[in-house]
Symmetry: C2
Subunit: 396 residues, 2 copies
């Protein structure tokens, strides 16, 4: 081959290389520059115009305060990944992700992850996508199990110091985990730190879910009224060997993530009413709401301390929330709107379907021989002093 | 440069090219092979295990029937794109997408699209992502505006012949459009073809939405009780020049898409109860339900024909649905579940906030001088014969 031919070949190879690099960079690597401050300018290239429009519409006063907010998401699976996606697109200041699992093709029936991410850690795969979608959001990842002694300490420190302002705690913790132990770990940490958090969950049969806003001392914590029946801490691989897995649907998980982030936005940006408990029954499109008062005999000593703190705060703030939610405003029913009660379909979808208790489930509490143990929310009797209550508790 | 040096350079360039091509193919292009039939085998690599588990859980009888189902999605924006994503991950047989818009950075506050897709047509960008997520789903794209005369004809033909079985109609049409004209076009087509469809919508202030299941002749069509006020067909670019855009949130759109696809799954796979109308008020987490009967004086002549067809069907099928939804099953209220009525917050979020009517809005109907035009659902009186009804209609 002549020198000229070789040079031509080199030129061709270089051209092809540049073409591929250009394609790769335009399709995969390159994203938009960071945006200094959120603008309400209506242009095709402004990713915040539709969010800042919430101000013009009179929904939110200062939308861009969201940049000063930090949220921890524990569990980046079917609910947590979509939660992170939504908050990233809303332009949240900072997200701290916790998970120790890897992406699998078996997760592709839920939103967010893509088949090429199989084998990557969930937090790393998520952070890469989220950074690409919105480089303005600061994303921190923690690839560990928060229920182990060592990492629980790290988790507590991370949420205690993870605020946008250095050294301040995060503004909210979102629980998107799928097991009892992890929920109890979050509960313990948030009770101790007096941090508000929202618990979320989706049933094993994929057709119901819920969110529960927990404000230590003010509402029931996760230990105040824990589930009566939970799955034992069996290694997931053991279950898989036996050919068993929970059902899941992108619809139910997307709706629960939507309910979770919507209430997060209402809380962080101070608009609308944040729900204490919102359930979802997919079979009949039923969305129950509840108010859960803290249990004065809760096993968690920090919960008891927080209840003490809360009872010292002015009463007005307390009763306001309850009145707002209990009082129907419209007496008329002009459009014949029908509120549907739970029906039999719901019953079959509940934990009752596991009765008698299936393999891998254990009773957390034994059924007392006399009166049944009540998980009905315990309402504080405001006429009784805290000292009386404490005395009663000690007498129990 | 010597020939040897040139050859070395060529070798280096070829190595780099191969390395990049390998990376690109493993990270971007290559996806999983098609899967012949859905399996319930519990392995990390089975993308259908969590869906097939719905059978073991007793929720769905034959989940894999979903492969024989075809759905048309009109509008691939904030709601439509997530709808397509969910159905693709659920393994639907076939999806037919309709949209004429392009992806913009201004859409990044909603789920699904990514910044690198800015400038691409929404249907093409969506199809590429969906094929990548699940190559088992057949995806057809139509990049046009269905409200133009020419493309309306094409649209009607596409949904009439778009079933999984050749020449059969699609099983369901999902409306995810954002304007009155497009909804009326879908309504006209589905009334004529007697095709069931689900309408969806999100308010301009981003904090409410709804889905409405329309079964021609059986439930109210979109022309039976159209909105009293709609935006005029102003060029979106004109609005944008004036610095105006609607607000939107990934949460509200994700929840509406979730409600839409959940009801689609219930309808296609025959489980649970499909809602006729389900609303969502984000400010107070209120989800109103309604039953909308067809209007015997509907302007759409095909709607009247379909009502005639429906009245000839056995009555049992008709009343069954109503009873199931109206009858509360549980008389007790063991857990103190509170059903919250719409409150003032809801009122401010409604179209009333546009009163007096804003720029770009027009009254579809003028307020009659005598009794107000009722949009309350019209209930068929089953004791009156169809002939009587027709005679009454003619006398009107």
């Amino acid at each position: 081959m002549s020198v000229d031919q070789l040079k031509t070949q080199i030129q061709n190879l270089q051209d092809e290389l540049n073409r591929i690099k250009r394609n790769v960079s335009s399709e995969v690597v390159v994203t938009r520059d960071k945006i200094e401050s959120m603008s309400s300018e209506v242009t095709d290239s402004n990713p915040y115009s539709r969010l800042m429009a919430l101000q013009r519409m009179g929904i939110v006063n200062n939308y861009d305060r969201i940049r000063q907010r930090s949220v921890a998401i524990v569990g980046v699976g079917g609910v947590g990944s979509v939660t992170a996606d939504m908050l990233t697109r809303c332009g949240i200041g900072k997200l701290i992700l916790f998970d120790y699992d890897k992406v699998e093709l078996a997760n592709m029936n839920r939103l967010f992850f893509t088949p090429d991410q199989a084998g990557l850690s969930k937090v790393d795969a998520a952070a890469k996508t989220l950074n690409f979608i919105n480089p303005d959001v600061e994303i921190l990842t923690n690839n560990y199990n928060i229920t182990t002694m060592e990492f629980f300490v790290h988790f507590v420190h991370a949420i205690q110091t993870g605020g946008v302002e250095e050294g301040k705690p995060v503004d909210l913790v979102l629980s998107c985990v799928d097991n009892f132990e992890a929920r109890m770990a979050i509960n313990t940490a948030c009770n101790e730190l007096s941090l508000n958090w929202i618990e979320s969950g989706v049933s094993e049969n994929a057709v119901s879910g819920h969110i529960q806003f927990i404000r230590p001392g003010e509402t029931a914590c996760f230990a105040c009224a824990p589930p009566l029946v939970v799955a034992e801490n069996i290694d997931e691989k053991t279950l898989k060997r036996e050919g068993v897995c929970a059902a899941s649907l992108p619809t139910t998980m997307g709706i629960v993530a939507g309910m979770l982030v919507q209430n997060t936005l209402k809380y962080l940006l101070n608009f609308g009413t944040v729900s204490d408990y919102l359930g979802y029954n997919a079979l009949i499109d039923f969305f129950p709401k509840m108010i859960l008062k803290p249990n004065p005999t809760c096993d968690d000593r920090y919960c008891i301390e927080r209840q003490k703190d809360f009872s010292k705060r002015p009463k007005k703030e307390h009763s306001e929330v309850v009145v707002e939610k209990d009082e129907p405003i419209h007496e008329e029913n002009l459009y014949g709107i029908v509120l549907v009660e739970e029906n039999e379909a719901d019953k079959s979808a509940s934990i009752d379907s596991c009765n008698p208790i299936s393999v891998g489930l254990k009773q957390v509490f034994e059924t007392p021989s006399a009166a049944p143990h009540s998980i009905t929310p315990v309402v504080n009797n405001d006429d009784v002093s805290l000292d009386d209550l404490m005395a009663q508790m000690k007498a129990m």
